[in-house]
């Protein structure tokens, strides 16, 4: 499948760095899955494999001082926002060096310095938070924006509707990005939503909306540039639906038997990383050797993350009572 032709003008370096970022997230996630099987990581582990183009396409178009809020499938978003993967891996291991000091785990990554505001385990829970972030930006007369990622399952929570109404009413610079991977756990959209065309959900709040191929990082980036610019300049919300797919089950513990092998294979053919690889080769004369060098670099970085997590200590017993009150 070809990659989108209408797109923002990007430099070669930007294009390569987007590719590298997607590959880093994929490699990180596959490594995390392996570590989970080896008992190094506990709890739930919701992998992002297949959806990388959404996080990278959107977040690469942000400024470092902009904000991102995710749900519980947020490793990729956190890494894309600039958190060193070693702090993410250490968090998954429950180590004191983790980005949330081992208190949060996979679903609760926070990197305030980088503008990454979570990591939220309650479906739809991040959506009202984004209203507050948008309100603060507007109040302080800043020109930042906040991107809020959520899944197709979250559109059926009350929090979704309440947040959409307020963000539109108050004209806040928030971009709600629906990562429509077609399933909420084991339930496909058509069994959960009265309208399968989820983007229409934004229409009753009169929010400008757009749909994008979430398996095409350049198309996502293009949409991101446009919606971020409009949100920033006019202080108003945007609603983007990125159609995407998660290759694995809902979490590592879920074999995903509600989908057919064929369906997963069909989506894998649209893999955002493979498509970007082809694009780089066809258009920028990136060679196989260049790609191998990138892969080596990424693998080394992920290995470094594992080594760092492995060799870090668990939090000391005193940490149990730390940070309960300010």
């Amino acid at each position: 499948m070809a990659i989108s032709e209408k797109r923002a003008i990007l430099t070669k370096n930007e294009l390569i760095s987007m590719y590298k970022e997607m590959l880093l997230i994929r490699t990180f996630e596959e490594k995390a899955a392996e570590m989970y099987t080896r008992g190094k990581i506990g709890g739930f582990l919701h992998l992002y494999s297949g959806q990388e183009a959404v996080a990278v396409g959107f977040i690469s178009a942000l400024r470092p001082d902009d904000y991102v809020i995710g749900a519980y499938r947020e490793h990729g978003q956190c890494i894309a926002k600039g958190t060193d993967p070693k702090y993410v891996m250490a968090e998954l291991f429950g180590k004191v060096t983790g980005i949330s000091k081992g208190k949060g785990g996979s679903m609760h990554l926070f990197d305030i310095e980088k503008g990454f505001l979570g990591g939220h385990g309650i479906v739809g829970g991040g959506m009202p938070l984004a209203v507050g972030v948008g309100l603060a930006i507007k109040y302080k007369k800043e020109d930042k924006v906040c991107i809020c990622f959520f899944g197709d399952g979250a559109v059926n929570e009350g929090a979704f509707h309440e947040a959409m109404n307020m963000v539109a009413l108050w004209k806040l610079p928030v971009i709600y990005v629906l990562e429509n991977n077609l399933y909420g756990m084991g339930t496909p959209i058509y069994r959960a939503s009265s309208i399968p065309d989820l983007i229409r959900r934004a229409s009753c709040y009169d929010i400008e909306r757009e749909q994008v191929d979430g398996m095409d990082v350049l198309a996502v980036r293009d949409t991101a540039e446009r919606s971020i610019r409009l949100a920033r300049e006019h202080s108003e919300p945007r609603f983007i639906e990125a159609i995407t797919y998660r290759y694995r089950g809902h979490s590592v513990a879920d074999p995903g038997q509600y989908r057919t092998k064929e369906e997963v294979e069909e989506w894998r053919k649209r893999d955002p990383i493979v498509r970007m690889e082809k694009y780089l080769k066809d258009n920028l004369f990136i060679t196989d050797d260049d790609l191998i060098a990138i892969r080596d670099e990424v693998n080394a970085k992920v290995q470094e993350a594992v080594d760092f997590a492995e060799s870090s200590p668990f939090p000391p017993p005193d940490a149990l009572y730390e940070d309960v009150y300010a």
């Binding site: 506990g42 983790g98 208190k103 679903m107 609760h108 309650i122 059926n156 009350g158 339930t187």
Partner: protein, 327 residues
């Protein structure tokens, strides 16, 4: 005769038997049908009872609870699965302001025979938003019944009783118990609501608990027996209405009480049980009532910290030894 089955299978049997008995019973919740339930408690129900009675809902907790309540108002007996108790916070309004109050406010005209099943627990490294024990929140509200089984036999018998009860029942299951096995009587039986049970007879001290910590209390009692301390263990089973008689009766006999709970100590179940003991057995006490509870923190993810936060068998043994003056 008895069968040895898991807590999960016991719950599944209860649902099946009740659904076969009464076609007004429906099961609804997120992923309860095709997926078989997040904890596989409802596995196979869709196949046996069909999609009219085993209903997958969107992820919409407030609406799920409200649907259950509305259906109950007009004669059905829904069993709602809330996946985990953490998500019932989104449905609090429906549960506390509607389910619980409608009967009272309507002068008894309305009946809400609704069961809300919710799993809870820490110990699976799920972090603070997925590892809460909120039984005391619900046990606070008059009009609601709160049930918390610790063994498969009670899981089955209590769920059947909860389904047949005419009130809204918050039925709390423990995530770490689903695979625990135990003997369950063959054939039809009901375990009464609002009745605690003495699970182990003893004369030196009463350990009072429910859910997973009850299992730990039983093990602690074995260990204490080796140390020459004869502990009685009371399984509370229903947290509201609380069976004060059984609890106080036991403490009057042993003169000492240790309460073990997995929720926070402040304003937790143990505080209530302790107060009941003071009201009913003050003159019998040879030592202050002791409580073993969860650390007063949101649950940390990291394994060593999580284990530190949750009450352990050793904590129980230590508390008992302390109260016996044998620390």
């Amino acid at each position: 005769m008895a069968q040895t089955i898991t807590y999960r299978e016991a719950l599944n049997q209860a649902l099946r038997e009740e659904m076969r008995r009464d076609s007004n019973i429906l099961v609804l919740g997120e992923d309860v049908a095709a997926y078989g339930g997040a904890f596989k408690v409802t596995e196979g129900l869709l196949q046996e009872f069909g999609p009219e009675r085993v209903i997958d809902t969107p992820i919409s907790e407030e609406a799920i609870a409200g649907t259950g309540i509305g259906a109950a108002m007009v004669g059905l007996r829904p069993v709602v699965e809330m996946m985990t108790i953490n998500f019932t916070t989104l449905a609090m309004d429906q549960i506390v302001n509607h389910a619980v109050k409608l009967r009272y406010m309507s002068g008894g005209q309305i009946k809400i025979p609704l069961v809300i099943r919710a799993a809870q627990a820490a110990g699976l490294q799920l972090g603070a938003q997925h590892s809460q024990n909120l039984e005391s929140w619900y046990a606070h509200v008059p009009g609601l019944k709160v049930v918390a089984p610790s063994v498969p036999a009670d899981a089955k018998g209590l769920l059947k009783s909860a389904i047949r009860d005419g009130n809204p029942v918050m039925f709390i299951e423990h995530e770490a118990l689903y695979n625990a096995k135990g003997n369950v009587p063959d054939g039809e039986y009901l375990t009464p609501l609002a009745k605690a049970e003495v699970k182990r007879q003893g004369k030196d001290v009463t350990i009072i608990s429910y859910l997973r910590t009850l299992i730990l209390a039983m093990k602690a009692a074995e260990h204490l027996a080796d140390l020459g301390i004869d502990a009685e263990v009371v399984d509370v089973r229903t947290l509201r209405p609380l069976d004060t008689e059984t609890i106080v009766g036991s403490v009057r006999k042993t003169h000492r009480a240790v309460i073990v709970e997995e929720d926070w100590k402040s304003v937790g179940m143990g505080a209530e049980i302790s107060a009941r003991i003071l009201e009913g057995a003050f003159d019998y006490l040879d030592a202050p009532v002791m409580r073993v509870a969860l650390a007063e923190v949101p649950m940390p993810y990291s394994k060593p910290l999580e284990q530190l936060a949750v009450p352990s068998q050793d904590d129980i043994v230590m508390a008992v030894r302390q109260i016996m003056g044998k620390a």
